[in-house]
């Protein structure tokens, strides 16, 4: 019975993640800070060109935060090269989660 329940749970989880991914794929207009060819780029989803390409992550994150403040986007997401998200910023609050080492979290208004 336990095995059956476990299998069912796994299939429900997989169906749920599939649905949520399709929904998430529709989201547009967010700004992302990404590593790009040894530099850091601030890019908006769907835009052909980067908003900015700078040499360090701190400057890139500041540019993304400015975009959120000015209403150029509602959300900015900072990515690591391994595909994890290191932090995200929204017009309402800032949330930060480290993906490596000890987990820390903080939230504050921009």
């Amino acid at each position: 019975v336990f095995k059956l329940t476990k299998t069912k749970t796994a299939s429900i989880k997989r169906a749920s993640i599939s649905r949520k991914l399709t929904k998430a794929g529709k989201t547009k207009g967010r700004v992302h800070v990404i590593p790009q060819q040894g530099k850091w780029a601030v890019r908006k989803e769907g835009a052909k060109r980067a908003v900015a390409v700078v040499s360090d992550k701190v400057t890139a994150v500041s540019r993304a935060k400015e975009l959120v403040k000015s209403g150029g986007t509602t959300v900015a997401i900072v990515h690591n090269k391994d595909g994890t998200i290191s932090s995200s910023y929204s017009s309402k609050k800032v949330t930060e989660k480290k993906t490596t080492g000890k987990k820390t979290s903080a939230s504050k208004s921009i």
Partner: protein, 209 residues
């Protein structure tokens, strides 16, 4: 195999170990994102199917192939180097040479961590163009996208910058959702390529950029 499907199939001859997972994920994402169909021997549930005939079938059903020969060198003392990849590359080359009209238009991309580390082990490969990825998923996305655009002459693909962004956006979203759905670390690490491809397709389904 229907003609249209054959023209989209890409035989994947790459490692699937834990250390390689970021590379194989970047390969699968880029292929699916460029409307190509990855064909992989790993992940079949039919345990009775013999491996070699299965690989032969995959090669014959695929117009294109991607090989990674990075693991020809053992990573530590006492470990065996792995020769499945160069062996299957040889099988693919054999199909190209002896496969007649079925093999016409067959094109391959060969990846390795470094550009020249293969020559000491398989000197027959001297002169063959190998693309180095330095174990960097970004280099994989860019190298593979450019190969699809320029060697396969697929003109409708996004720029390398955009595919790299899309890969990071998808990966971030996917990892976040797996956490929300309580996927254990073990479940995430052991996910079969076929399942990962399924999720890329789900995400891409209504994605318009």
């Amino acid at each position: 195999v229907p003609v249209n499907q054959f023209d989209k199939n890409v035989f994947i001859n790459c490692p699937f170990d834990f250390k390689y997972k970021n590379i194989i994920k970047a390969i699968l994402f880029t292929l699916v994102y460029c409307d190509l169909e990855p064909r992989i021997a790993a992940g079949s549930l039919d345990s009775l199917e013999l491996r070699l005939p299965k690989i032969k079938k995959l090669i014959e059903e695929s117009k294109y192939s991607i090989h990674d020969i990075s693991r020809m060198r053992a990573s530590k003392k006492g470990e065996y180097a792995r020769f499945n990849m160069p062996f299957e590359l040889g099988l693919n080359y054999g199909f190209r040479v002896y496969g007649g009209k079925n093999a016409s238009g067959n094109k391959s991309l060969i990846f390795s961590t470094k550009r020249y580390n293969y020559a000491r082990a398989v000197s027959d490969l001297a002169g063959i163009d190998i693309k180095a990825h330095h174990d960097d998923p970004e280099e994989v996305v860019r190298g593979l996208r450019n190969w699809i655009r320029n060697t396969l002459n697929k003109t409708d693909v996004l720029s390398a910058d955009n595919i790299w962004l899309e890969y990071l956006v998808f990966s971030g979203e996917f990892k976040k959702l797996m956490k929300e759905e309580n996927f254990s670390r073990k479940e995430q690490n052991r996910m079969e390529p076929k399942e990962y491809i399924h999720y890329i397709n789900k995400w891409k389904k209504e994605r318009s950029i």
